[in-house]
């Protein structure tokens, strides 16, 4: 009875440390070559800008109001991702770049996919005019600012605003102050399709601060009433244009004193466009704004462009990137080594190294005894076998077969036949018995002759012709025997083997 081998955990070193370090350095160089990650902080009235000049608050309000709100980073991709829809609301706030032909084609295509197209534009630059034109609206934003600083009669303060009166069909009415309002051009003012929602009524220039409003001057020249908010209605389309995007920025909507009034204006405008709630897909444009490296922002006023958390995460990502620290580290090592190994200091370096080693030799004996830090070795499950070595050899394919094994095979088959059919293998009557059990007569005779022939050769010391490759022969005979044993209801290869016949 053999003992089971003690299970031992083997640690295979698949990648040597030197190879690993070489690969690490190579990959670091490759990453440095690729350059820093192309992340940038969106500046301007982008819905992704969480700073004071951004419109993330507007996005938040829209998400609260509607279920499906998407920020568009690429109009082409947005067109591909959107299928057929009911109402489509496109929101554009103070775009800083003009829309390209591809953008406009995508917007038109989107408009065709949806039953109703709603456009909400708050823009003083005039970049949104191409969108209005492509969707067939007549209203335009002039792009020139109503309130130029030079026109203001006061001096010494730059926070000037223009008073505007908003009056909506639903009963909403308010007096608000515009920062960078432009003119709105109307092609046909008397048309039934156009409804003026807001105007600069008095041309008064005011100074707004801490809830107080002070008239500081009046604009010179120009007409008395200038529209600043207009609703144009067409077939299956509507556009609400406010000629000032700055009133929807975070610094306005989050202002403690004025924020709620501007938020109300936004909500009333959206309600006027959408009418009733339903399946509305809202697309907020974020394609026409600059993305700036966060490191650059640190030099200017970062609060305008991002909240501290976002800015910090951008900076951390940038700092941990190898392109930031790897080249300076190499420079530092290079400089240090050139200083150390210059002719004059070499002796000093050697001396310092020796001194360092002496210090280390003094400190090390005072530290605890050292061990290699390895994980604890876990218990390896095993099975117990009385003939474990034989099993192992069989599983490893290291079992050799010889003459004795054939004799054993013969004896096994002989025992089985004696037990099952009552005829030994040496008896020729076995052929008839096997035939009666469904075996082919020719095959039965051949089997009987081969088994007995080989057995007599195995028994004799010298047989002619001699059998050289006993292993191959035994394997061949095992296959033949299996077929015959199956005919008498037992097996050599299956779980229910011949031993069950013997133990009966």
């Amino acid at each position: 009875m053999s003992e089971p081998k003690k299970a031992r955990k083997e640690v295979l070193v698949l990648v040597p440390t030197t190879t690993f370090l070489a690969l690490l350095v190579a990959s670091l160089i490759a990453v440095v070559e690729l350059g820093p990650p192309s992340i940038g902080v969106p500046v301007g009235a982008s819905p992704l800008n969480t700073g004071k000049l951004g419109t993330s608050k507007l996005l938040y309000i829209l998400k609260e109001r509607f279920g499906d709100v998407q920020v568009v980073r690429d109009w082409l991709a947005a067109n591909k991702s959107v299928g057929a829809c009911g109402k489509l609301l496109i929101v554009i706030v103070s775009p800083e770049k003009p829309f390209t032909e591809k953008d406009l084609d995508s917007i038109k295509s989107l408009s065709k996919k949806c039953s109703t197209t709603l456009l909400f534009i708050a823009d003083e630059t005039g970049h949104s005019n191409t969108v209005l034109e492509s969707l067939g609206f007549g209203v335009r934003v002039d792009g020139r600012l109503l309130l130029e600083l030079s026109q203001a009669q006061a001096s010494g303060n730059t926070s000037f605003f223009l008073k505007a009166l908003f009056n909506y069909p639903g009963g909403y009415s308010d007096e608000l102050y515009l920062d960078k309002a432009s003119f709105i051009e109307l092609t046909d003012e008397s048309s039934n399709n156009i409804l003026i929602l807001g105007v600069t009524s008095s041309r008064e220039v005011v100074l707004v601060g801490n809830g107080t409003v002070k008239i500081v001057g009046e604009l010179s020249g120009g007409s008395e009433v200038t529209p600043v908010a207009v609703l144009e209605t067409g077939e299956r389309r509507k556009a609400l244009v406010i000629s000032d995007g700055s009133i929807l920025t975070n610094q306005v909507l989050e202002d403690e004193t004025w924020g709620r009034r501007y938020e109300r204006l936004l909500k009333e405008s959206i309600d006027l466009l959408v009418n009733e709630s339903g399946n509305v897909l809202v697309l907020v444009d974020s394609t026409k704004y600059e993305y700036v490296d966060p490191a650059r922002l640190l030099n200017s006023n970062p609060q305008l462009y991002a909240d501290p958390l976002t800015l910090a995460s951008y900076i951390v990502v940038r700092l941990i990137h190898p392109s930031t620290w790897f080249p300076p580290t190499i420079d530092l090592i290079n400089g240090l080594s050139s200083r150390l190994f210059s002719a004059g200091t070499l002796i000093l370096v050697v001396a310092a190294t020796l001194l360092g080693l002496i210090i280390a030799m003094m400190v090390l004996p005072r530290t605890p005894e050292r061990v290699r830090d390895r994980a604890m070795e876990s218990v390896i499950s095993k099975d117990y076998f009385t003939l474990a070595d034989l099993r192992e050899k069989i599983l490893a394919g290291r079992v050799s077969l010889g003459k004795e094994d054939f004799i054993t095979l013969y004896e096994i088959v002989n025992e089985v036949f004696k037990d099952v059919v009552g005829v030994p293998l040496s008896d020729e009557r076995l052929i008839n018995v096997l035939t009666s059990r469904g075996l082919d007569p020719v095959k039965a005779r051949r089997f009987w002759k081969r088994m007995n022939g080989t057995y007599s050769k195995a028994r004799k010391r010298f047989g002619f012709p001699p059998i050289i490759m006993w292993g191959r022969l035994v394997k061949k005979r095992i296959a033949e025997c299996e077929e015959v044993l199956n005919a008498v209801g037992t097996s050599l290869l299956k779980d229910l083997g011949f031993e069950y016949v013997l133990m009966r």
């Binding site: 009875m1 299970a7 200091t345 000093l348 001396a351 310092a352 190294t353 020796l354 001194l355 360092g356 080693l357 002496i358 210090i359 280390a360 400190v363 530290t367 605890p368 005894e369 050292r370 061990v371 290699r372 830090d373 994980a375 604890m376 070795e377 876990s378 218990v379 390896i380 499950s381 095993k382 099975d383 117990y384 076998f385 009385t386 003939l387 034989l390 099993r391 069989i394 599983l395 079992v399 077969l401 094994d405 054993t408 095979l409 004896e411 096994i412 025992e415 095992i478 050599l492 290869l493 299956k494 779980d495 229910l496 083997g497 011949f498 031993e499 069950y500 013997l502 133990m503 009966r504």
Partner: protein, 444 residues
Amino acid sequence: MATSSANIKGTERLTTIILFSSMLIAFWVFLGYETLAAGLALLTLSITMRFYAVAAANAVQKARVLASYEGSFSDEPVRVSFTIVNVSRVPIAFLEFLLHHSPYLRASTQTSGTTYLPPRGSVKISFVFDGRAGKHLVGPLKVVVRDPLGLYKSAELPVGSPVEVRVMPKPSEALLRRALITSKVAALSRTRRVGVGVEFYGVREYMPGDELRRISWRHYSLWGKPFVKLTEEESSLNLVFLIYLSREAFSGVYKHTPFEHVASVVASIARYSARRNDLMCLHASVGGTHIHTRLMRGRRAYQEIMNSLAEIPFNPDIQDFTQFKTLNEVLSEVYRYLPRDRSIILLLTTSSTLIKEAQRLQKLMTFLSSKGHVTYVICPLTQAYEVKGLPEWGKALYRLKTFETVRNEVMSIRKVRELGIPVIAMGPENIVQEVVSRLETLRS
């Protein structure tokens, strides 16, 4: 018990950091005070880490460990859980744990890992094992504590005590059903005698003294005179399972060892007999332990037997596997507990024991037979179990190489049979049906 700092050892990282800090201190001579400050800071850091490692190791030593397990049957996974409660205020950031367990119990999940133990908090670590019949030792949990920089590590600290996981064999439902059907179809379980029971046997004319509630009113209306119903006497067996196994009973692939097969056979027969309300008990003598249950009937007897089977330690590594009692001694002890009525003793033992004790066994069985008891020996053929799990060609080669052993084993069993001892040789493919049929024959 607090850990002394001697139990905390430095790692190779500590050597590196000391060398590096020594160099920084030495280079101060010509590089400036910055390197001196950096070197001293590193040394201070390594000292701080040592304090932390000692404190964390002490916290682990004081920690309370609660162990529990779920899963009672061999076909279920066994989930062993250890809850480590940190009673100190020291957070243990890198607690490496390793579960020691019997190598004969296979873990389905990792038995080692790293966890965080919050101060005054606890962490529950669960391990899942593939259940197999018998009693298995799981634990203790060993832990190693490190500082956050890995400069120091503690020695392997055992926490908590080992758990003894007891797993009962699962009786084969399919085989049980087949056995019940076979016995019913063959009418093996009928006594064909009039007596106390519930099965209808026939009717006879009413006689003074008969209970009125047994009058068959249907027959009375048919024949115009009273008849009483007769019932068939219920049969009951006194069944004694005697498991006497040597070390080779634990050989074989997972869940297919002779011991597990024997346990499953006993569980299946016990369940079958519990349904028949037979009187049963179990005596098991395995690996130096002797367990026995009282003679009981029905569900209680079955439960007792199952619990006892789960008490048998599954451990072929026991150095001295010689039984503290010989088979004859155990049989003599069993005889003392036998009822006066005829009892059927099912002796489940390995062929090596059987061959060794055949002569004495024969004498004892003759004696038992003279007292009206019947003994059957069920003998698992070890080699037949070891074939399992091999590929087809592997099976053929294994059978060729072990034929002599198998033949000797079979011949010995035949010789024992010739002595008049009824032996049923068994392999992993055999089922309990044959045993049940023999029992039912005795019942009638």
